[in-house]
Amino acid sequence: MLLSELQTGERGVVVRVAGHGAFRKRIIEMGFIKGVTVEAILNAPLNDPIKYRIMNFEVSLRRSDAEKVEIVSEKEAELEIVSHDDYRGIDADEQSAAQHIAAERGKTINVALVGNPNCGKTSIFNIAAHAHERVGNYSGVTVDEKVGTFEHNGYTFNLIDLPGTYSLSAYSPEELYVRKHIIEKNPDIILNVVDGSNLERNLYLTTQLIDMDITMVMALNMFDELKRSGDKLDIEQLSTLLGMPIVPTTGRNGDGIDKLFDTIIDVYEERDVKTRHIHVNHGRELERSIKRLRTELYEHGFSDSLSTRFLAIKLLENDKQLEQYTTERDPDGSVFKMRDQIADEFFRSSHHSIDDTEHVQKEHGGDHRAHQDIESAITDAKYAFIRGALAECYEKNEKSTLHAHTDRIDAIVTHRWLGYPVFLIFMFITFFCTFAIGQYPMDWIDALFGWLGELVNSNMTEGPLRSLLADGIIAGVGSVIVFLPNILILYLFISFMEDSGYMARAAFIMDKLMHKMGLHGKSFIPMIMGFGCNVPAIMATRTIEDRKSRLLTMLVIPMMSCSARIPVYVILVSAFFSKYAALVLTGLYLLGMIMAVLMAKLFSRFVVKGDSLPFVMELPPYRMPTAKAVLRHTWEKGKEYLKKMGTIILAASIIVWALSYFPTNADKKMQAENSYMAKIGKTIEPVMAPCGFDWQQSVSLLSGVFAKEVVASTMTVVYATSSEEAEELEDFEAEENGSRISQLIQQNMSPLSAASMLLFILLYMPCLSTIVAIKNESGKWKWALFTMAYTIGLAWVVSTVFFQLVSLIL
């Protein structure tokens, strides 16, 4: 519990003092040290400050300060001892019990991982916490926080993996999020992960963290690359200059991670000699400005939760969020007056020529320019500090060939024209392998299910249960499960492209195109994620700060062909176009992307108005993905797919079977034509007829609303129960022409209608979950319903036009 909650007369033992810098020091100097017993002398609800007795003298603490001290009260300790077997051996004496529990709790260290995108935070997190989080070689992979708990040398660590950020300004949701976490959650230690092969840029964030005056440890990650590059770095020296311990690590194989956590324990226990508070020197002029504003802040009582130095610097940088924070505490605005005055003076003194100043003032009213000026001066000063520090301890190997291969590959892959065909070729290869290699295991699984079906048919007596098992469950689930190998292969490729860094290039070459179409460059990452599943993709749009772009992206993500559509594509393609499979699949995916972009253009004209922000895409160096990471990701996907088979697909198959089996009729043909399914199908058939679909196709599409794979299972079940030849299916087994499902489809569908159906599946309404995701993320049903309506409309128009035109030509 918190010290502020300790009631009058109660006693407790200090576990830890949160907060930072001068503030924390003050509290500790008052005697609030780990393991010390405190007694509340007077703590009334409206009483501020609160009076405590500590080490036999009285101190008073503001309520807000007392909230920063974690304690174990003796009462709490007593309860805990009674309820916990672990504490049986301990003396029943209250005081020693509280001491004991406080000592135990004091051994829990909260550590937050902070660093640039792609510096290896998640890799370190995974190794330390034995977790299986996703790493990826492009920025924006971690957007939420994840907590891992583990033991190390008798201490319990709560490690938090935060999203990557380049700075702590208030420009992007990630930056705000990380900052908020540090300020509000008060982790004991900030673990600043730094990409050792890109020191200068990574240290910029470090300098901002130093401004916040928090306890830090640096992991100098990518140490393997640093060594290979031949650069020389004096780690001792850098560590002294920055006032924090630095531990070289390699997140890829775990080198240095143990040492890293040993160091964190030392820092936490205040045994580390390197830790000291430094100020990043911004130069005389700026430092004077910061000091003046800081004094003003002190006078207004801004000294509790946020370092005043940090606040002063951020206010000079016009940080919108912290301006709001300041306004709440200083309603008369004297801090802002001072700030503006300082900015103005700074501007004048740095533009000595009077002409220049007057000219600018006439144009912009001076103010805006003055603020921009001081903001960039602060950034420059930070970089100057970094360069100064690096000059003393770092020697770059100019002949380094470390990322030479990256430059060579990028010359082709991100080339202005070549980039696009290369992207297409990669897509083509992906689908070719997905289809061609997947064919073999697919046939085995298909044969297995064929055999199962026969087993049921030959061993059970005729009746509804036999039909349910054979024509419903085995045929339905079987028709989708056969695509497991295809899905695995596809994910293997996607994982590889993501982890190696190619995906970032794909986003880069698409950026220009996207921009022209009214989409944000950052939209491409959620869109690519849409190839896996649309739902996370829609959630990933949270990284797009601009509202209009975010909404636009959400609306068009359903055009990105998710993996659930693959089974349906493969069924139809292997039945009719197996010679051109990869080409057809690539074409479909491309069409989806083109449609997404076209729709975005259209919507940005007529539906969603506003303007979009520019965005800089970072291109990380290429890195060979570790086999472990790729395989694990692929396996996770496989597991999910199988699970879906056992749940949604199974239930859907059963229901679809029932609807096609009942009402029963002695005449097989009559039964199929009069079943509930046929009735539903025939009702919507007239609407779908222009697209070239019969009633079976129509109901299949309808059932796909729950999950797109269901289209495949429904189609199989409906054709299996309604087709006259269903009984003779086994006879086809011997023929060389494709699987049983392919044959079933071939007998019932024309190639043209199949092609039209492919288009329809690609474009028509996303599954229910996606619709709900759009509703949740946009905040309104309106947009979810709009997405449903426009996707169905678009699919219908495209399929109809295609079907009618081609029918005319043929």
Binding site: T122, E145, P173, L465, M529, A651, L768
Partner: protein
């Protein structure tokens, strides 16, 4: 006859499952339907999934 009874039981179970699934999904609890428990993207957790990330509704 036995077959009919078993089929009826299976059908009822499937119907309950589907209806419950739809309700959960509409309430936003069902995940993405990719077969995982409550997290919309279990295998993709590393990327994004919880509400701790600021959810900024675009249209409020």
């Amino acid at each position: 006859m036995i077959q009919t009874i078993i089929v009826a039981i299976i059908l009822a179970a499937a119907a309950v499952f589907v209806v419950r699934g739809i309700m959960r999904t509409v309430k936003g609890k069902g995940g993405c339907g990719c077969g995982c428990d409550n997290c919309p993207m279990k295998g993709d957790k590393g990327r994004l999934c919880n509400d701790s990330f600021p959810q900024i509704n675009v249209d409020d």
